[in-house]
Symmetry: C2
């Protein structure tokens, strides 16, 4: 929006929304269900909001689904600065390294800082709550963020499991445990379908 005059309450909000557009150019390890290409973090965020809407009845007690949806709409915006770090990359070690966490915190300060103060602070708090993964809303949101790529991989015939040479034990540890915590029946369903992919012929 160069030269458009982005001062004032509305100007700052629209500048943020134009900045957010860049999330459509951040590509993830997972593919579309038809395996035709990798998915980007903007369409992934839409898909997760739809997951929350459709699977609300599978959330634990005390979950407010409207907050979960807002959290999921915002949760990946930091990737505009940091990129997506695939959960299975660097043998599972890169995803929550200290350098990565510091880069994401700086990205949150910059990107949410484009907004008028009150809303910027509220969004940053909601993003931090998601990352900390402790409140019922965050735990459910995180379980959906882990479940959706499993669905993509089942549909695509392997997807990022093949690309990163993932074992069933790694899937259970890095992904299944998180899904089970927030949505146990969902992990039960996915586990039954994912398990067969990892069975080697004896």
């Amino acid at each position: 929006l160069a030269g458009c005059g982005v001062a004032g309450d509305l100007g700052r909000r629209l500048a943020f929304l134009a900045e957010a557009d860049q999330l459509k150019s951040v590509y993830r390890a997972s593919t579309l269900c038809d395996a035709s290409r990798h998915e980007n973090s903007a369409e992934h965020s839409w898909h997760l909001a739809l997951y929350a809407l459709v699977l609300a009845g599978y959330a634990g007690p005390g979950v407010e689904i409207g907050r979960v949806i807002r959290m999921l709409i915002l949760h990946d915006l930091v990737e505009i600065d940091t990129g997506d770090v695939p959960i299975h990359s660097a043998n599972g070690a890169a995803h929550h390294g200290a350098a990565q966490l510091a880069a994401e915190a700086a990205a949150a300060a910059r990107i949410f800082g484009l907004l008028p103060d009150a809303q910027g602070q509220a969004f940053r708090a909601l993003w931090a709550e998601f990352e900390e993964n402790e409140t019922p809303d965050a735990v459910f949101a995180k379980s959906l963020d882990r479940a959706q790529p499993v669905m993509q991989n089942i549909a695509a015939g392997g997807g990022s499991w093949i690309a990163y040479d993932v074992t069933y034990a790694q899937l259970v540890e890095r992904v299944g445990s998180r899904i089970e915590r927030g949505a146990p029946r969902l992990w039960g369903w996915l586990d039954a379908r994912a398990h067969g992919f990892f069975e080697k012929p004896s």
Copy 2:
């Protein structure tokens, strides 16, 4: 999800979510802000949900922003069957033709019909409310759906206005009037920035 067993409440919901993935392959007339490619309807839907969250304070009285967000998450799913019909295509005539409306109604019946009955009916009603554009929530949601491509075109230096040879009068009639109805201050801001694009040197 062929062969995955998609009966039962959870199976039907997950089959719907896998079907919804196809919205990521429906491309629109508008481009990304950097003009690098056309945007798809899934990432556009995410962007609109973010617009609603960020611009809630610019909505008219009686608007419930959580409902607007749900409406926007769902509003383009019919395009999996029908494709996106650009508002400026066929000189503005194709977008709300009778054949197009009938195709969209059939798509809504098929796609939302994948879900368990109660949720499928609720989603279909929310989609129909958006299309009818009469309730305060729908009018605000529609104004955002019209405003976001204007933002994309301003940022991209013309975008779909160039591709469809749009005049300023057509923009006001097809787009501006809708934005003004739901979010008058938003149209004021966009109009001031869009107008210059259409001014021919004399």
